[in-house]
């Protein structure tokens, strides 16, 4: 076995699909006790070139790699955001990164939201928990390209006030005339003045939706999907207008290693964003 020299390290695809680019951490923001936001810049400021809803494999050399959704819009190409919850070894090490540090980035990976299909339509985004991070890539996109969209509704639910992500954004969205934003927590604390209840309890705050002209994106934990889909279908929105984003264990990110398979579908390449009609046939997807 010999080791071949890479033409220009670090490399991607040409030499090995598995070698990440060296991203530079520009800014770290603590969002909650468990989540931090990382602004990452690629070498020479090259844009990541993603579409909303895609993800990257983030790696710490010597520790490992994990899939993280991209939390910012491609309309802001100088850098991109990753919202990382500290749940395991790799994410624990990512949380120790400080501005100026290097982090491995492979991607963008997967199939995101087809934004062309959203253009000219009303859009409803329903985000639960950490699902707000990938949702933010679509939200920012719509706000940056606002004239290209009709009405824009956003519902966001967290388990409790302390778990609310992107508080600055939440304040901004609440004041913005560009988005009809509603927020809820499952369990209130003493300071909480807002709505309490699961995210489906926000649906009565929506105006009458135009079924054929409304596109829906649902991003959250698996348990949330069927309840939200039910609310959406009850408003006569056709299944083909409903999109969901799935979470899975992923290692290779390129449709080979098998971990993310739901039925015959590789979530890492054909997803993580799926049309609901497609998901219905995948029994393993929503179990």
């Amino acid at each position: 076995m010999t080791v071949l020299e890479a033409a220009s390290p670090p490399a991607h695809a040409g030499d090995s699909t598995y070698i990440p680019l060296a991203g530079m951490v520009r800014r770290v923001t603590k969002l909650t006790a468990l989540e931090q936001l990382f602004e990452i810049r690629l070498p020479n400021g090259r844009p990541l070139g993603h579409s909303p809803g895609q993800f990257v494999q983030v790696s710490i050399m010597g520790v490992g790699e994990c899939p993280i959704s991209i939390a910012s819009s491609p309309t802001r190409p100088d850098s991109f955001d990753l919202c990382v919850r500290r749940v395991g070894e790799v994410t624990g090490f990512i949380h120790r990164l400080r501005p100026g540090d290097t982090v491995g980035i492979r991607g963008p990976l997967g199939h995101g939201f087809d934004v062309d299909e959203l253009h000219g339509r009303d859009v409803l985004i329903v985000a639960g928990g950490l699902g707000l991070a990938p949702a933010r890539s679509v939200i920012q996109y719509i706000l940056d390209e606002r004239p290209r969209f009709g009405q824009f509704h956003l519902l966001y639910g967290a388990r409790e006030p302390a778990e609310l992500l992107f508080r600055d954004d939440l304040t901004r969205w609440r004041q913005s005339p560009d988005v009809n934003f509603h927020l809820t927590v499952d369990r209130a604390d003493e300071q909480w003045r807002g709505h309490t209840g699961v995210v489906t309890t926000l649906f009565h705050r929506l105006p009458r939706l135009d079924p054929d002209n409304t596109m829906v994106a649902i991003i959250g934990p698996p348990i949330m999907f069927k309840f939200v889909v039910l609310e959406v279908l009850a408003r006569r929105i056709p299944q083909k207008n409903v999109f969901c984003s799935l979470e899975r264990r992923m290692k290779c990110g390129v449709g080979k290693c098998g971990h993310c398979q739901a039925n015959n579908v590789y979530v890492c390449t054909e997803g993580p964003v799926f049309r609901y009609g497609q998901l219905k046939a995948l029994r393993e997807a929503l179990e």
């Binding site: 390290p9 070698i19 971990h259 015959n264 393993e284």
Partner: protein
Amino acid sequence: MLDRVISRDDLHALIDGLALQRRLIGPVVRKAPECRPPWRYFYQPVDRAEQLDLSFSYCVYSPKPFLFPPQETLFQFERVDGGFTARPQLADRPTALVGVHPCDLNAIQLLDHVFSAAPADRHYRARRDNTFIVGVDCARPCTDGVFCADLDSHEAHGGFDVMLYPLDGDAESAGTTPGRYGVVFGSRAGGEWVRYGRRGEVPTAADERTFDRYQRQKRTAFPHALKTPADELPQLLERSYDSLLWEATARRCYSCGSCNLVCPTCYCFDIKDQTTLGGDGGQRRRQWDGCQLRGFAQVAGGHNFRSRPAARLRHRIYRKAKWIRERTGLRGCVGCARCDRACTARINTVEIYNQLTEEV
């Protein structure tokens, strides 16, 4: 149609020539002190053709590890100036796999498809492109319990440079070494190996008749075990997702992953890092993973998308008989029955298919 016929001695001379340029891997009976009869065959490196036993029954593992090793380094990294550099590691050692049965050739065709699909896996491709494959046909089933004929994978459909058909000795009397082989070229390199080696003869009409007889005998030599034809297994499974049989069978499953370990078409893997003692460098490595192991589909935070053994068993069977076939048009299972032989709980694949057949 045969391209050549070749005597055993001439074949050995060709293989010995191959061994001068390539690492030679083939079936070898292993009589290790810790083993007891019946002796088992393994693919392992050898120096000369006479060390190989080309009339072997079956090898415990397929030759997959020589194309997709149980562990391999994807790249080496070093930490420098707060960043890192990485160098891919690609195997370029020329290798010859000699004595690959049709079932395993069919499995290699699936691996080729998966790892060549965009983005191509350079690590697999580097090994594969440097591997010369000589297949050897089975005149009859290698052992009880195989169902390769049900899947038409008792015949080679490609994946070889040269295919050998044992033309005498083997069909009549078990275990004897054939004196002559019919040769079919599968690639230019395969044809050149035989022609430039100046061994073997152009087949005569009598040789072609012998080959026809061989193929006719083969048609009746292999049993069919499945009550549902392989082409209809996808539909059978489509109807069987909610069968109680998954729970009933998986009750016996230890989730040990032995079936994954010996399967020639399993290609799932995990990726892990190893560091040097100083922590300033290391390797990112991949190793085989198995969908029957408990944590295979578990995400950080603890949710397991297939937490029940029944869900994992069903996933494996669907993948082998339905999903891979639907996605690639290739065989996800080649009927070698290695999984059945390796199973610590004696779960039997054919039994599962046949029980499902009787249910609906």
